[in-house]
Symmetry: C4
Subunit: 257 residues, 4 copies
């Protein structure tokens, strides 16, 4: 069995941008992506399954079993379309990360994606009152493109490395000629605690880049509605973190996408 994307609706998209928000530190990316899906009433059109996810099913509503999966949603606008990738989990093996990201990029390529934005949290290891949005790109000229936004590309943030899908999609996307931006909301970084403040800040920046208007006042409410899913995500994510080699949780690598 290989990583597989099951398409439920064939869609034609206009210059789509791919936005990835999978579980990670502070669930910042996952929550921000989920909020966009909900507020923009985006439609699911594909699911991704992988043998590199934990070998288990989640029970929804206490008794309905579902495989771990990632999901693709689309949104059509007048200017350009948006594809959001979110889901329950990331790969649990290093090789699996590469395989899953390659499948995502192959699929994105077919959809016509030429720009990727990945979302995540950046664990500062201390309480953050006013979370900044820290950025990384996959090509130097892009620093100018995104320079006008409230993103910190500065040297005072020695992120160093970006682990997992948020990083690999940028690096591997470059090899396919796709532009990539990673947005990381500063957060405490205790893995299993959702940080709505960082997600809120992330959404402020992201919606401007995407050119969509989203009422952010409902974020905390939606997070509460998403609670069951989030808790399961957090349990799964906690497991993955525990399975990751120790050093990936160490001092030097403070970010996981």
């Amino acid at each position: 069995m290989q990583t597989e994307i099951k398409v439920s609706e064939k869609v034609k998209l206009k210059n789509p941008v791919l936005v990835e928000g999978l579980p990670g530190i502070g669930n910042v990316g996952r929550v921000a992506a989920g909020y966009l899906v909900s507020e923009l009433k985006m439609k699911k059109f594909a699911e991704l399954y992988s043998p590199h996810f934990l070998p288990l099913v989640i029970l929804h509503d206490s008794s309905v079993a579902q495989l771990l999966k990632c999901e693709f949603y689309y949104y059509k606008s007048k200017t350009r379309d948006i594809v959001i990738l979110t889901g329950d989990t990331q790969s649990i093996s290093p090789e699996g990360h590469y395989e899953v990201c390659e499948k995502i990029l192959d699929f994105a390529e077919k959809l016509g994606v030429k720009e990727i934005i990945t979302l995540g949290g950046f664990a500062e290891g201390k309480e953050i009152k006013e979370p900044r949005i820290i950025g990384a790109v996959n090509d130097k000229p892009l620093l100018k493109k995104y320079g006008g936004h409230d993103i910190d590309f500065g040297k005072e943030h020695p992120v160093g490395t970006i682990v997992g899908a948020s990083g690999l999609l940028l690096g591997m996307g470059r090899l396919k000629g796709m532009d990539g931006l990673c947005l990381m909301g500063e957060t405490y970084g205790v893995p299993v605690m959702t940080d709505p403040k960082a997600a809120d800040q992330l959404l402020h920046v992201l919606t401007k880049i995407l050119g969509v208007k989203v009422d952010l006042s409902k974020l905390e409410k939606i997070i509460k509605e998403m609670e069951e899913k989030i808790q399961q995500t957090e349990k799964i994510h906690k497991k993955i973190l525990e399975e990751l080699p120790k050093q990936q949780k160490g001092e030097d690598v403070r970010y996981i996408g």
Copy 2:
């Protein structure tokens, strides 16, 4: 080498239901499946071998070496036929779980299977006097179908996840359009101790669903006869549990199928 199913007898089955009972917590599923095989005098028609099992042979009768394997048995009845999947072990790697379950489902599909029932124990972490049977399905409408039986689908049992074959067969079966039910007998959950009481309760529910009559009075006697195999299974299973990532044995994930 890949996971492989060796068919010893070609069988034509009438609307068969697949019942899986592999080693797991309290050996509940394994023992219940084994009892059915014995009482219904079911016939073995296929064996499954996998490089994802522990790399060892078991010595039967002290000196006859056999690869670890799973086995398929069939039973023909007037109404519908039954296929039972039981065996020595489950996969020892996460990816292996997916591969083994995919092979099982491909095989089941060819046999005409459209319904799967997986059996397991649910570790409560304390002594259980009157074990309930906790259930999960792989599609919400199935809750009604199985609602008439003595199965607890209630919210007060936060199973959360089902690890291993009992879970994956449900989740992956759904993708193939197969209905799935998981039955879990409440048990203490010390991994290496067979729990006949939970197996007995499980068989009461299962035989009603399957529409077969089985004398359950011999269960404890049969378990004693199965003792050598069970002990080996328990040793192997203990090893697998020790190899599983710690968190899969932790508080949050109290079930392994």
Copy 3:
């Protein structure tokens, strides 16, 4: 890269028996096989390389680097020919064990092998004055065939499982219709200490089965000559043992082939 057998000489063999002696507990199998190769002046005709061995080279004569490998030797006699498989190491991953053994058996099949004898040590965990040879077969009728030899197939030796090539070659060989016998010399079981006494006892039984005459008086001398290779083997083997999941070194599984 896959496990690969490089043949240096094409040989035609008469009803050959395959004898496996790879590093393991007490190096009993490895030393016995090496002694036969040396005394019978057997000729190497193939080498096996695998990505499932440790990723390193051994330096022979202090400065000549060689990949880890297994080696096939042949011996032609009037009655039946002998193929010996020995080498530096075994696989370091569970899946690798299956892959390597499958390649060996495919190769053996092409050579016309219908009988396999695997050699190993059986760790008793205490000093053994008069090591017995404990046996296992891969088909019950074979107990009679080998019954006349000084092999203990009795119930008082709860070997339980045979881990690694010595076990898998038997189990997987059965699926190819090959008869298999495993001979285990009782030894203390400290992994990194060669036990010539158990190897000597093993050779007494083995040479009778093979119908060859070998002067066993030089065993200790030859072991000294093999010392450099043995030490390297022992280092490598120690590493593999350390990499094995803990339970494979535990009480219940006292044998590794």
Copy 4:
């Protein structure tokens, strides 16, 4: 996804020698290779990516994300051409080491490479005032060929094994008929501390073998300029060392290439 080499410039080379210097103990090989690339103004013509590297991107200049990769550079001279292989990292799995080295050798073969020189540090576990260069070859006759250089092939250096690319390229290269030499600079061996003294000594020997003139006086300066890259390499390398099985860092195996 598989290990892949992306060629950016097709080059025709004259009897090229492949010199490998990847991260390892004391970064000796990596630094020596990088210095040659810089001093000889070598040109990059290919990059290697692999799913067996850590699943992360490195941020260059604080915010430009790049996949982990190895790089091939070439240098044309009057007599024979040189290809240097250097990069961010080595494989993190045993099987990955074999796969990556096979891809490298397939590529080298197409370039016409018949001789390989691999560079590394040899961890002595104590301070080294005058680092010697310890050598290993992949064929005994080569001892004469390289005998005239200041290389210690003597028995008093029980290197025993060479782990990783520096070892496997020699061993696997032999199977392709390529001559191989490994040069190891004696160093303390604390993994995450670059040792310019050992690199300097290594370059003295290497440049003589390659027949190129290189001003070594700038080595320390260049190492300072390479500092950002080196620090990242060291972080990555530290992670890989932590992921390696314990015994590969133990007493018996004091070298990692």
